[in-house]
Symmetry: C2
């Protein structure tokens, strides 16, 4: 909702405009920061300031709140002259794809719009310049729910090009809706990584109080420029404390909350590590970057569906495609009524694989008769793979072979950390 | 795998047979309990005993382990004479449906088979007799992945009959695969509950070490006989400590792990309460039982599908049915390419509703353009409802009306606790 007139008057009286450094003093709180534009989703009695750590907070303003102007337009980030370059810092490439995180706040008008140029993208969170040098480009500008195979193929090529041309790491700001899918897709498509590739999103755009954009991007910059990871990772808030950013493996992560900043969780494994106060802590299990040339192998078969089983599903609800991922119940089940349909499709050449709508834990189709019958019908169990990862992997596998035994072998081989051993799949919420 | 010969010899030497009370003494452990049959999934060096609290544990046996016979066949639960009756105890009905929990261990042969008679069902966990009187019946005997609308209709009628004929509560042992769906279905189908209806499952059958069957059933018996809840609830382990059993609302719970005993979690709310040491703790928000007659209103439209969105989904992947539940990304999105198909189906009369594959949090289709366009196309957002609950509710709503406005009104009305307010939907893992 719009900001209260009384607050607007207070700001006017202090001669404080958007972008100015101000001090806000209330009974219990005293904070300094850059005045941010008022957001339509913010309450009417709030002003938003950006703290020195790059984080936006909303402060309640009442009649006793004092606002003081400290510095006029010091942070004119909307009129950047040039992206800074520091020869003592590492060179990281930033590849924009769209999404909430790549939204650019116009400090004059308060309007939020997607970063459409490389410069706008780079300046969407200028705090990153403190960590590394940034070479920015916009690959495409879409809401992430619109992402498709061709976007992954474009992106994988661009990432490889950047790494093969001197970047020590790559940051990919990405919409959170399908960031898990993209994490998995890039993990299968890009081989022999010579540096970290960090997907990073935000749940709240950078003009909103409690935006997570800056902190997530700063963590991404740290990982991309300073770590020796040779994997596709996803970095988002670990919890709501706004200090700790989790590093998730691209094949083992999904979004579990529609709006919380800590929505992303690693499934069936421990996260690869975390970033706190610009320090990276990693466990020992990640794949290290290599020295050779980064390769791209991005062929995918698009004729694949993913089916979420529910009681009452009918035979015709399982389509005839080159590949089908079933998200079954429990250890990997569907109604026994569907088994003849599955057998028929398998016999006609459809590769059907099984995952679980539990998400956590392992598919095990040897325990109950339904599982055993499904195996007999020709279903391939996907161990502890996420359904989303299994879907992406099946498209990739079918892009490389249409031979059943070969596809089965690919699905059961751990290519990018998507399959964990039994101990790890005990990891739970 | 089969039990080691050395262990079998040790047991033979001690004259200990399945069902006998024994003492097992190793270097660090000394336990007493009833010897259970060896399970094919147990390790070869394990013996399983049932403790006095009804819980099965597996004990490692090495060459120094001492086994002593304490009592011969005291617990001959496989040859029950009569189900005990104590006039000082409350009368609870037990309605069997199949599933791991209703498996009956033959103490002579060690075989596990589904309880097929009322008596076998009642004696599948005889510890329940300590809590209440039990009147048992077997409604059907299926693996829960095979459950369908007609099973919910049969069950709802039987539950109402029992409550209307003197039972203070009803226990429904149920397979865990679809227990969440059944919880939701019964919640919409049964009205004016005069007592608690407790769905209870187990992740490991009662012949296995660390079976959760007994503890879950004892908790269910406590809730059914002693609480004033007038809702359908699900009770399963709260964690892996084997002391605390969580009480989940039937419309707000789903299975999040393929094998862990604490697989069930309440989503977008706090659980209704828990049972610990035979004591029930409830928070204040549950619906209390009423005094009148329990009614059944179980009409459902079966022509409904549930679709899990994934990048690359094609228009034809959304079927033409009376109702479709979409499990979209994030706040409730699908690719903009699908919007014309959705609009066309809506115009032809399909009711399409939106939920989120995040599971936690709230669908909000006003934040991004995709959401707003989907609303314009005629999609009905399902607030913070679970996809599984929305699926069951849409079948129920369409069973009562085919008028779009009426169905929309039903979907947006909180009938059985399936919709929470915004505060509650902040509850997360």
């Amino acid at each position: 909702m719009p900001q209260k007139k009384e607050i607007q008057d207070k700001l006017k009286k202090a001669n404080a405009e958007t972008g100015d450094k101000i001090k806000v003093e209330s009974k219990n709180v005293k904070r300094e920061g850059f005045l941010m534009p008022h957001h339509q989703f913010s309450d009417e009695d709030i002003i938003t300031i950006k703290l020195d750590n790059g984080y936006n907070i909303g402060l309640k303003v009442d009649k006793d709140t004092k606002i003081t102007l400290l510095d006029k337009h010091k942070k004119k980030v909307n009129k950047p002259k040039e992206i800074p370059f520091d020869k003592n810092k590492k060179n990281v490439s930033l590849i924009g794809t769209g999404g909430t995180i790549a939204c650019y706040v116009d400090y004059r008008t308060g309007a939020v719009h997607p970063a459409s140029s490389a410069k706008e993208l780079a300046f969407s969170v200028p705090e990153v310049f403190d960590v590394c040098n940034v070479k920015a480009q916009v690959a495409y500008q879409i809401l992430s729910e619109n992402i498709d195979i061709k976007h992954w193929q474009i992106l994988s090529k661009k990432i490889a090009d950047e790494l093969n041309n001197g970047a020590v790491g790559v940051i990919v700001p990405h919409g959170t809706d399908t960031m898990g899918y993209t994490g998995a897709a890039l993990s299968f498509m890009i081989k022999d990584l010579s540096g970290p590739v960090v997907l990073v999103g935000s749940q709240r755009s950078s003009d909103r109080p409690s935006s997570d954009a800056a902190l997530n991007l700063i963590a991404a910059a740290n990982i991309a420029s300073k770590s020796d990871i040779g994997e596709i990772v996803v970095t988002m808030h670990s919890d709501i404390s706004d200090t700790k950013i989790m590093i998730h493996r691209g094949t083992k992560v999904r979004k579990f909350h529609t709006s919380r900043r800590d929505a992303f969780k690693t499934v069936n494994d421990l996260p690869l590590g975390f970033v706190e106060n610009n320090k990276i802590e990693l466990n020992s299990k990640y794949r290290k970057k290599t020295k050779g040339k980064v390769r791209v192998d991005s062929k995918m078969e698009p004729d694949v569906s993913m089916i979420y089983y529910y009681p009452g599903m009918k035979a015709e609800d399982i389509p005839e495609k080159k590949g089908v991922v079933i998200i079954g119940t429990g250890l990997g089940h569907v109604s026994e009524k569907l088994i003849p349909r599955i057998k028929k499709l398998v016999d006609k050449g459809t590769i059907i694989v099984m995952t679980s709508q539990c998400f956590f834990g392992r598919v095990d189709m040897s325990v109950y008769s339904t599982g055993r019958d499904l195996i007999k019908a020709g279903i391939i169990p996907c161990l502890d793979m996420l359904p989303e990862t299994a879907y992406v992997k099946l498209m990739w596998a079918l892009g490389h072979s249409s031979n059943r035994d070969e596809v089965k072998k690919i699905m059961n081989t751990n290519i990018a950390g998507e399959i964990s051993d039994r101990t790890k799949s005990k990891a739970f919420l």
